[in-house]
Symmetry: C2
Amino acid sequence: MSSLAEVARHAGVSKATASRALSGAAHVSEATRARVAASAAELGFVASTSAASLVTGRSRNVGVVTPFISRWFFGEVIEGVEEALIDAGYDLTLFRVQEDPDLRQRVFDYFLVRKRVDAVITVCVALSPEEISALAALGKPVVGIGGGIAGMSSIRIDDVAASRLATEHLLSLGHSHILHVGGDQEERMDFHVHAQRLAGFRQAMATAGHRPGDDFAAAEFTIAGGFSTGLRVLGNPTTRPSAIVAASDEIAIGVILAARQLGIQVPRDLSVVGIDDHDLAEMFGLTTVRQVPRAQGRDAVSMIMASINSGELTRRDLQLPLALRVRSSTSAPQHG
Amino acid sequence: MSSLAEVARHAGVSKATASRALSGAAHVSEATRARVAASAAELGFVASTSAASLVTGRSRNVGVVTPFISRWFFGEVIEGVEEALIDAGYDLTLFRVQEDPDLRQRVFDYFLVRKRVDAVITVCVALSPEEISALAALGKPVVGIGGGIAGMSSIRIDDVAASRLATEHLLSLGHSHILHVGGDQEERMDFHVHAQRLAGFRQAMATAGHRPGDDFAAAEFTIAGGFSTGLRVLGNPTTRPSAIVAASDEIAIGVILAARQLGIQVPRDLSVVGIDDHDLAEMFGLTTVRQVPRAQGRDAVSMIMASINSGELTRRDLQLPLALRVRSSTSAPQHG
DNA sequence: GTGAAAGCGCTAACAT
DNA sequence: ATGTTAGCGCTTTCAC
């Protein structure tokens, strides 16, 4: 816990020179730099972030705002962010926002402000106008992953296209009775995701000449959510669809488990496609539209670093590519 | 972003009084306190943590060191920590440590020090002696969840007892050919967990008069890990066990999926017990030894707050209770 | 109960 | 290339 002053004294230079030598910048002779570095190492010196932040106004710290931690998509994003951040020498402060409005307000009005984060990454959070203002008032780079934030940078996949791609695959196999199992609007995730995946599904169906009918069922974005909805929508043999487009792999896996529980063969009697590329997809032979949340996390950090380094808050929107990975969970329908 | 000075001026008091009024402590008249509070609210004042930290040496920030984020146990612990921390007005800075020794060293020698965290919580990380020294050198409260750290406070379940409980349940049903599917020693999780769960299993087996044989198979602590190990150990009908004690619910679920894939009826032909109480356990009717990682996270924070408030670094060890939740995944063996 | 003043450890002008 | 100086915004003696 030695101070810069001690390092300077030990190296026989002034605090200013020591600071310059250690920060890498400015005009310092190679000899001095080496000497200061040696002293710092010997004394185990690590600069106090509080002191540095106080004077520079920067904290080398990025806030990540997320509604979930252990769901696959969110965990992957956070890991991607963490990897990129540690490479850049930044810390990650985690803020979990839930439904409770009081807690949410505390995060936005108090925690984010006082921590003086240099930037904020939001992961699929549906923000209220007040929350957006609070974020904008920070005057710092903000990037929204998954769900964009009005007027701010974003990283996303084309959710409409993802869902359309999945649907078109099933249509091309000859399915006509297809159900979309997607996000419950009540979830505090960005509702655009839910709406857009449903829209992509309906677009593809409409283009193929199918009229919208009883084509949607809501599920929580988890395996358990897909399972319970799956039991419900697959329970009645007469109304059962021959194919399902699930809004996430977790839902898709839950649906497959429900089907098996009901004695329905996948893919013989039911074809399933998911959107995500979850680790478990392979185990179930699940056909997926591939998105890579980890890359989204890393890209968010790149965007932020670019913004910090340039000093500009220009808005950018990055849309990541999709790919359909066909596996054994889809096949042509048996009857018709 | 107004400063304390502005608040003080607005309220017609000195900076000192404003500071005292807002920090809640000290001798300030009720009238002044109210006036200062009103001014602060009106100006949207939030104290700068950098400035406060610089002078107090405390940062209202706790570091969480974990090898994983999206695995169920870890996610739950982190969520528990986060909940308790936000209640206490603290931030959570996340440090993910992986195998890469360079990255690990950076976290311990650089990140943890410079961030001036007030305390550290480690979640099931196997620490090297150097890493333990680095942590101890912080002079801050440290509590290890899951895997204890030599000489520091810990929160854990009795891993030996947990595993024994699970095994005894299967033994009491009449099983004799029981396999333990547990943690791979190569995993950078605290290896004590793996060793202890295996020890508990063998203790119970020995007590029941079974001699140690080919009784263990390693798996990654994930559903996919349990699945692939499950396929392997259940593949041969002649050597197949009639019951399995899985070191975690995720492994157990993977094993059940593998069994189903192989056409083995659970629980008719195979009984399975897991340790965790994962959300998905219910879906599989999985019998579990219940531990509550979320509670462990919260308790870790309580411990830390007690330590911070008392100013003492006394070591404490808390062991959380276990409960066997018998569900439909276990039954008496068919042959034997 | 309140104010004046010192100083936490660092960086950034400004001199030299 | 290096040193001097002046704060960053807060908390905390120490007076009153």
